[in-house]
Amino acid sequence: MRFFLESRKFLIVSAAAYILLKILFANNIISIYIQQITLFAFIVTIASLGLNVIYGYTGQFSLGHAAFYGIGAYTSAYLTKIFGIEGVFSFLPVLFISGVAAGFIGCLIGIPILRLRDDFLAIATLGFGTLVRVILDNSDRFTEVLGGSRGFVGITKIANLELTFFSALFIVLITKNLIYSRYGLFLRSIRDDELASTSIGINTSRMKLMAFSYGCMLAGIGGGLYAHLYTFLHPSNFDILKSIDFLIIVIIGGMGSIRGTIYASIIWVGFIEGLRIVLPVELLDLRWVVIPILLIALMMWKPYGLMAKK
């Protein structure tokens, strides 16, 4: 019970937000397209929170986060297809399993690579991410339905306001509890000084692995929801650019700030999708020219990292 008591304020605000959204959605006051973007924003929040735990709090630079997002997406879509799942409640176990699958693979790959130094960890995660992309491109060799480079079509649309909103809510709460506990303290210590952390009794390898697996699991859950929102998956959605997307969100939100990640996710999705509505098609391509420049400018402005104050 104290689980809820501690976060009263947050829960009250969330309840209000939900009611507001429900009204807007139920009466189609906002267009279907914007409804979809809103749900996508919650999904991105979940996945970004995962990267925030891995990188923002623990300091492990991962360029492969989208791979786990993809693993969750494809796993969940495959399961709902072969078991013919259509309802939200029967979907929940599938979502959970997809998250666990992504987290498990994260754990497996993490065991050997997490001891690498920053830049090598970056390359290793980049390599793994690209490997997953290659596997997804060839996925029709394993099972026809996965679609390979043609894409995975015909996924049932299960993600609605309730599913995405409350999943995000639950994950925010759990993540908050993780971070504001001794585990979060250990992760932040590791980020600051791994050697000193080990000298005071923190099992740094295990903590890093735990953070990484948890983060990958969140990515997987996000991916599972994504698959059942957009009902179509293509391997190109899960490449390095997507990983960079998540990274940008974590950086903008301020490394190691849950609130910051939530705001940044919503703002970033709003920005990207908003551009799609606002800009004429010709200028749309400029997005990915301007964004890298902003990214570089951001690095120049705050070169010593965007450490959010607690």
């Binding site: 104290r2 689980f3 506990s181 600051d192 050697l195 000193a196 000298s199 009794g201």
Partner: protein, 255 residues
């Protein structure tokens, strides 16, 4: 009873023998000083004892048990703590968090308790915070709990690092050149602090230090290293007069 025993320790780095045939021991309640010119291998010995390096040869025993090759975090749980020569605080954490993190590495609540905020979580956290505050008061850092650790003046940062090392309730504390950068008043203050800690916590201490006043003032015995080897060992008054020691420090004034 020998608390720590180091036997024939050897460590080389790419052909250079940093530590050669190093043996010594320390009893419960003793303070052992390790002195020697720069590059003598003193910090390497610390790193070997605390599990940061693996010795090429030799054995390390703690309370009679072999601990050679045991990783640092396990040694912390066994009761060995240390500070670092170039000071390694958690600079982005507050003073309070630096201490609390060390307190919480002991037996405490698990992951599920944390995620679901069980009663066990709240009571464990409460106890840990109490202990942390006690340590902060003892080291004279109260009022500064919420300051980022890096904002403290240098002398207090050193104290904080020491406090953090003590937070795990060790039986053996290794202090690496605490006197570096301290003025004479801070040194005297430090010596007093160590004396009080020793009595209060029944601690054994090994201290590496260059400042003779500090080392002589605290140590029951002193081991002298040069070129990776122990060249002499004895009580402070003996060490001060020893010819080999004076030679090793050629050019440096022994007070």
């Amino acid at each position: 009873m020998k608390l720590l025993e180091v036997i024939n320790l050897e460590k080389s780095f790419g052909g250079v023998k940093a530590v050669d045939n190093m043996s010594f021991h320390i009893r419960e309640g003793e303070t052992l000083g390790i002195i020697g010119p720069n590059g003598a291998g003193k910090t390497t010995v610390f790193n070997l004892i605390t599990g940061f390096y693996r010795p090429d040869k030799g054995v390390i025993k703690f309370s009679g048990k072999h601990i050679t090759g045991v990783p640092p975090y396990k040694l912390s749980h066994l009761g060995i703590s240390r500070t670092f020569q170039n000071m390694r605080l958690f600079s982005n954490l507050t003073v309070f968090e630096n201490i609390l993190s060390a307190v919480l590495t002991g037996k405490s609540y698990g992951l599920i308790s944390a995620l679901f905020r069980t009663n066990n979580y709240f009571s464990s956290e409460g106890k840990a915070e109490q202990r942390a505050r006690g340590l902060i008061d003892f080291f004279g850092l109260s009022g500064k709990e919420d300051y980022p650790a890096e904002s403290l003046p240098y002398g207090e940062q050193r104290k904080l690092e020491l406090a953090r090392a003590l937070s795990t309730g060790p039986r053996l504390l290794l202090i690496d050149e605490p006197g570096a950068g301290m003025n004479p008043r801070e040194v005297l203050d430090f010596v007093d602090t160590i004396k009080v800690i020793k009595d209060k916590h029944s601690l054994s201490i090994i201290i590496i230090e260059h400042q003779m006043k500090l080392v002589m003032g605290i140590s029951d015995r002193i081991a002298v290293m040069d070129f990776g080897e122990k060249i002499m060992e004895g009580v402070p008054s003996e060490v001060k007069k020893d010819k080999k020691v004076i030679e090793a420090y050629l050019g440096e004034a022994l007070e």
